[in-house]
């Protein structure tokens, strides 16, 4: 079965910490995405990548960066975590072509205290 794996289901971090959220897919997908999900706001795109070492900003990139050194791995980095970054973070991947849709990971619930 195809898979997108997010390394942590739950994380608690302190304000100001540098936080790494890891995502790995085993489907040889070209595209990878990071979303955050908040009640009443739905899914908002943070960053996406369409190739190794390539990235583009989504709708809410402020306070985040990403890294894609290998095709299967896409990391989201919170440079200095703040309490307003407490959220559910979802990673997804897709093949090239808009008709394929996304495969999602199970999510990481991050709490910044």
């Amino acid at each position: 079965d195809v898979k997108v794996t997010q390394s942590s289901r739950y994380l608690v971090k302190r304000t100001g910490e540098k936080v790494f959220l890891e995502c790995v897919q085993d489907m040889d997908h070209e595209n990878m995405f990071w979303y955050r999900q908040d009640p009443g706001l739905g899914l908002r795109l943070i960053y996406f990548s369409y190739d190794v070492k390539m990235k583009e900003k989504g709708d809410i990139p402020e306070g985040y960066s990403v890294s894609r050194e290998k095709k299967e791995r896409f990391s989201l980095i919170l440079e200095s975590a703040s309490t307003n970054q407490t959220s559910m973070y979802l990673c997804a991947s897709s093949r090239v072509g808009q008709g394929y849709g996304y495969t999602f990971g199970s999510g990481t619930r991050l709490t910044v205290v």
Binding site: V4, N31, G40, L43, F48, A92, Y102, F104, S106, R109
Partner: protein, 115 residues
């Protein structure tokens, strides 16, 4: 740019009743349409998608959706729901053709099925 509106944030229904979750989109070009389901504490799972052809699309778990180009809608339906259908449902749109492969999601509809 495309956008998606899910008209109901919450839909409560009784078990075995029919349900319709509404989704409207706006786009100046042709689109692909998707419905995803999210069970509690899980990621999103694809229910069904419309790419082209027949406007009635059948998906998993007995769900179906109808694409209506004139109404710019893609409503999700199920004739008889179960307790296990309790989840959040997301409608999403992607532009067909070109290099834009991002999905734009609606804000979700929480379906609660009561006994």
């Amino acid at each position: 740019a495309q956008s998606v509106t899910q008209l109901d944030s919450q839909v409560p229904v009784f078990e075995e009743a029919p349900v319709e979750l509404r989704c409207n989109y706006s786009s100046s070009v042709s689109v692909y349409l998707f419905w995803y389901v999210q069970y509690p504490n899980q990621g999103l799972q694809l229910l069904l998608k419309y790419l082209s052809g027949s406007t009635l699309v059948k998906g998993i778990n007995g769900f179906e959706a109808e694409f209506n180009k004139s109404q710019t809608s893609f409503h999700l339906r199920k004739p008889s729901v179960h307790i296990s259908d309790t989840a959040e449902y997301f409608c999403a749109v992607a532009l067909s053709g070109g290099s834009n492969y991002k999905l734009t999601f609606g804000k979700g509809t929480l379906l609660t099925v009561n006994p």
